[in-house]
Amino acid sequence: MSARTISFTLNGQKVSTEIEPHRNLVELLQRFDLFGSRESCGQGLCGCCTVLVDDLAVSACLYFGVWVDGKSITTVEALDAGGSLSKVQQAFIDCGAFQCGFCTPGFVLMAHQLLKEHPDPSDDDIRHYLAGNLCRCAAYPEIIEAVKLAARR
């Protein structure tokens, strides 16, 4: 399939590239050496590939690369661009909210969207927003604590 040229904003920078229409957003991001979005289940069930497209969390494994034409993408790599960690990232560290760390960027980005929409989330809000992220190490209790801590800060 022939490649198309697309232009979009990637972590605040305007970029443009060529991409074939069958490649997903995870593959597109890898071309920019961004590996925080990770394809695991390939079905949009585990959340390991989560990125924000126009501030909305999507599963990059189910999102075609060409669809980001004209849009703005935020990946986990942008969160500490200012030189310091985001509140959510710091809270994940303080609560020990991960073990292997493979799913962590997805949880962190989803928690960002949650806190943007619900600055003072209930337990149910947290479980609802994070239901689409899986952690096989099962650091869930610590993740819930971390989200609450980030909200308090």
Binding site: S37, C41, D94, Q99, C100
Partner: protein, 755 residues
Amino acid sequence: MNQVGRDIPRLEVHAKVTGRAEYTHHLRLPGMLYGKVFRATVPHGRIRRIDTEAARLLPGVHRVVTGEDVRKIIAEPYYGPAFHDQPILALDKVHHVGEPVAVVLASDPHVAERAVQMIVAEYEELPAVYDEVAAMQPDVVVHDMLRPAGTFADLKHLKGRSGTNVALDYHLRRGDVDAALAGAAHVFEHTFKTQQCLHLPLEPFVSVAEPGDNTLTIYTSSQTPSFVRTEIARLFGWPENRVRVKVPFLGGGFGAKVYVKLEALVAALAVIARRPVKVALTMEEQFYMITKHATTFRIKSGVGEDGRVVARSCEVFWNGGAYADIGPRVTQKSGFTAPGPYDIENIRIDSYSLYTNRTPAGALRGFGIPQLVWAYESHTDLIARGLGIDAVEFRRNNILRGDRPQASGTAMKDAAVAAVLDTLAARIGWSRPFDRGSGTIRRGRGIAIGFKASISPTTSVAIVNVAADGSTTLYTSTVDMGQGSDTAFAQIAAEVLDVRAEDVRVVHPDTDVTPYDMGTLGSRSLFHMGNAVQLAAEDARTKLRALAAEAGLPEGTNYPPAEVFKKRFGMQAGNVIGSASYVPTYKSPDAQTGLSDNVTPFWMIGGAGVEVEVDTETGAVRVLRLVNAADCGRPINPGVARTQLSGAAIMQLGFTLSEVMQLDGGQVTNASLADYKIPGIRDIPPMENELVAAEQQSGPFGAKGLGESGTFGVSPAIANAIHDAVGVRIMELPITAEVVLRALRAQAGHPLEDE
């Protein structure tokens, strides 16, 4: 400075929350080809023909490789830790659905994937066997000949066999079981079963091989870099120093990524293609790599009038699938703990590792122990109920106390069995009144404890390097897959060298650089490598003192290392290298009796107490409270230890309530996360995690392994609580709502019709 016992964050926290931590998953090399696997579609069959022509001609395909191509570069292309039974790509026969038959190599993984679909294979189908008990009969024999590997000291006794599916049978005889059963006041007999389920790390299996000048570098998501090096070198007939194995962080392992998985395949492909080759499995493909043993456990106990168990007979059948992997060790090492942590005079154990035509089974967080605890703690609860004795009291009356020898004859030294049981009973409030619910919502409580031996004898080697500025670097081949080993070892080295743990740098496994380690498995690392790190740091400290003496500094003074180096070498120069090996003593079980007074260097104890709610109209079970307790020796990092306990318990919760690999005629019918349900954030009950601090005298600063202990008690505690709530006994995992509803309806005399 007190570095041991400090609750510091893991060393790698920054890399993990920013998404910058290195995993093999991300690795790309110049000129790299992607390999996609063509897999068997029949459970047992002779390969008649593999037609790769159309795949080969697809534009963009570099080449297609079959088992016969591999045989041209490796004469005996079979691998495995216990038996050399697994071919790199199928040869002559396929033994399970999903077995790798051919690989397409292409620069673009999508092209390789499309080409795989163009391959056609024809098989002469053979009768297959799936059930572990049926496999005891040689009606269908999975392998024509069994070839023991002879690699590991504890598996040297394996014998070549033919005409059987029994890879290993372990037998233990102690006292006179038949006489004691005949004389017992009460006899109880039950059969329990567990299901085949999976590790499913979120970083699926992935390996990359890069050919060099008469060398191979393998980058792999593996828990056993040293074994990979040994096994790849053996396959090629090379010295070990021509194979380099590098392991960054792992996106989960849980026992899946041990021994050889994709490494032999990528090594062969890279040598054939003379280019770097990456094979990365999809989530679906993980269902055809390695699983947890399905089991059948027949347990029979004789109990005296005083409520003491006087005899126990255990027959355990382990469904090993098509290749032995480490199943024989599971069968033996777990086998001798089958009677549970109880002081029983007369014991008989027969434990069988069986080949079947399923996906192979290996080690999954507990090395077979959760399957055994499921049976013996469900059985224990049924005995207590049958005799009308309180379940905790019954256990108190029977558990191994003090240094009493366990079934194998090895003393339960530094094993806090009683303390774990007491902690659980106290935390769950066992003696307090309890709201048992009413109407269609009923509540119950259950408790269960289990124990495990470490794998023995195994070796760990560590190197501690103190640079001329005094900074410390630690070299080990232990793999940090989330359990926090880097951090724990840094704390141990820092304690010895009197520096801050955060300032110790830990080098990840690279067999050209880091020394030998048997593997990151079976909760062995903190004890074995922890001891090696402590000894290596002590060696470095001794050498620093010698250096100070050479530099003419007075003995007993406390000069910073940087000053010592400067004084000795006239500038910031030099190194001090401390190193040490650790291998515990071990005695093989007697071939006749299965007994040994030294089967393990330490014991792990874990248990769970639960409160559940059962909806009698739907069979749905809700866990209201889960209390976990484990003997962790002296915790090196209590925060990390607690997350290990909690994570293990939640993983076991999945194996208890939802996870099962569904089979239909050898075909897996639910090979995806959509159809195979692992715990998510909505499935987590309120939890309490109790570290029972004890002292493992032979451990590094009193510590012992903990990664699996949280799994032990969860399943039987839940079944016991369900029985307590609604009076039905579930004998097989997983305990889905449907299973409970069927049991309730059968109990009420209105069984549900079968599908």
